[in-house]
């Protein structure tokens, strides 16, 4: 085992490793013991507080409806943000200044602002200027905030996906006499879409996580909000409820991330494609702000 940081280990390094492992185990055990004590002192480990999660009622009454709302908001946001993002991304690549500059301003603006601010704005917008009922308003507000932010991020992903294609693709398309629109529609986009798939799936993780904001700030009855109601009903088992909800979130997002990585690996190995792939890491970098060069 040799990496850029250390060489294959000899007998002395191996002995040192055993020492490190022992020391780390002691620290880890101490931390776990402290956590256990803290929970036990407050009676948070009583079976009564955890029991509801080993029967169907907690899931059918609280968790499942909450989870449905979380997934509904995430799916809606993705479905609306994708076409919007694709349009903005292509507009940013336009040859016309009066198309490119406004698209750039819109994208940069909505990526500079927190999602929560956009959600609060959406919530108030619907309450003051539309007749959306107060029951539906949180969902509308959450989806609006998610769409505005994620369309901008997806626009960057689309742009990077198109720029990641080899130059020869558009040159060859132009050489056989296709128009600009045809080059984009027939040659670049179809290839870019496959290259972008892993990055788009990773963006779904971000959307799922951000739906929880609606539950905490805008009374949107999603998974996190259901944990709150639930802990009230089952006798203040906050720790247990949050643990269960966190486990569900990790399960969903971890499977999405794993799927994205698997997809990325598969696309990279494919013989047919141009080899341009936007991966999980790229989506993280694009979602940030600094430097928006195409990922190589």
């Amino acid at each position: 085992m040799s990496s850029v940081l250390y060489d294959a280990q000899g007998p002395r390094a191996k002995r040192r490793n055993v020492l490190y492992t022992a020391g780390f185990l002691v620290v880890l055990a101490a931390v776990l013991w402290w956590v256990y004590k803290a929970l036990d002192d407050k009676g948070q480990l009583d079976w009564a507080l955890w029991k509801p999660f080993f029967s169907g009622e907690a899931y059918s009454t609280y968790i499942w409806p909450g989870l449905q709302n979380t997934l509904k908001a995430a799916a809606l946001a993705m479905l609306i943000a994708l076409p919007l993002g694709a349009t903005l991304g292509i507009a940013r690549l336009s040859d016309h200044v009066w198309v490119r500059v406004p698209a750039t301003i819109v994208v940069e603006f909505f990526r500079a602002i927190p999602v929560l601010v956009l959600m609060i704005f959406g919530n108030e917008l619907y309450s003051q200027y539309t007749d959306v009922t107060s029951d539906d308003r949180p969902l509308y507000a959450v989806v609006t905030g998610l769409v505005l932010y994620n369309a901008s991020v997806l626009a960057e992903i689309v742009r990077a996906g198109i720029l990641a294609l080899p130059k020869g693709q558009s040159e060859a398309a132009m050489a056989i006499g296709l128009r600009k629109g045809q080059v984009m529609r027939l040659i670049l986009l179809p290839q870019a879409v496959t290259a972008m798939l892993p990055a788009i799936v990773s963006q779904l993780v971000v959307i799922v996580k951000d739906t929880a904001l609606g539950g905490a700030v805008l009374t949107f009855p999603e998974l996190l909000a259901s944990a709150n109601t639930m802990s009230g009903y089952y006798g203040a088992n906050t720790i247990a409820s949050f643990t269960v909800v966190a486990v569900i979130f990790v399960a969903i997002n971890f499977s999405l991330t794993s799927f994205a990585s698997w997809l990325e690996g598969r696309l990279r190995r494919r013989k047919k494609s141009t080899g341009a792939v936007l991966g999980v890491e790229d989506s993280v970098n694009i979602a940030g702000h600094a430097g928006t060069g195409a990922a190589a």
Binding site: Y20, A112, P114, V117, T211, F242, E281, G288, A290
Partner: protein
């Protein structure tokens, strides 16, 4: 148009946002670097711990972490981080703690991405000319890794700045909570949103531009 501003302390709210950002940035840089060291180190147990931490924490919504800090740690376990008599201070500190726990996993990945850009040949060549382990690490590998990590770390910092708004969920008086209060009390939605949006643009856009420029300046040309 903007006369409602006299009634509210907008600058104070943004100062809280800046404080949250800076404190969490320092904390997560320390803890994230430690995690990265564990994940790239030779000790299997530490590697496993680092990997498990990152994969679990970055898949939990930050909102869940910060709400848990308030409802779980503060209300249930009475952990106040040395601010037992002042709920606002306690919430502020718990929010910083939550932000550090969450952001560290992204800092760790950014640093690891930086280390991964250094070709193994660099270290092999350094060992071949007889440099010791410490010399290889501090003269050859880490300088290149840090230069490559500037851009991902800048992205983490910008994401952190925006993420501080989640502290509004536990009543920390920062920009998003003030905005929520203002839009409910004043019929000035567009003006208020414009002010808050402008404030965040002032925080995030320069950070992105400056650090983007720095990362290009220090990038290792390969």
């Amino acid at each position: 148009m903007f006369d409602f501003l006299d009634k509210y302390d907008v600058l104070g709210a943004f100062w809280t946002t800046v404080q949250l950002t800076l404190l969490s940035a320092v904390g997560s840089l320390v803890w994230g670097t430690l995690l990265a060291a564990m994940r790239v180190g030779p000790v299997p147990l530490m590697r496993g711990f680092g990997t498990a931490y990152v994969n679990i924490v970055r898949n939990i919504p930050l909102t869940v972490i910060i709400l848990f800090a308030s409802l779980g740690l503060h209300d249930t376990l009475n952990i106040t981080l040395g601010a037992a008599d002042n709920v606002d201070t306690a919430n502020f500190r718990l929010a910083v703690l939550g932000l550090i726990v969450y952001t560290s996993s992204f800092v760790c990945e950014a640093i690891r991405a930086g280390i991964n850009t250094v070709p193994v040949g660099q270290a092999e060549a350094a060992r071949a000319i007889g440099l010791s382990f410490t010399q290889v690490l501090f003269l050859v590998v880490l300088p290149q890794a840090f230069r490559a990590a500037v851009l991902p770390l800048a992205n983490v910092l910008i994401a952190l700045t925006k993420n501080t708004t989640v502290a509004a969920a536990i009543g920390v008086a920062e920009a998003a909570l003030l905005m929520k209060k203002m839009v409910e009390n004043e019929a000035q939605l567009l003006a208020i949103s414009a002010v808050i949006a402008f404030g965040f643009c002032c925080l995030t856009l320069p950070t992105g531009l400056i650090l983007g420029w720095v990362s290009k300046k220090v990038a290792v040309k390969r």
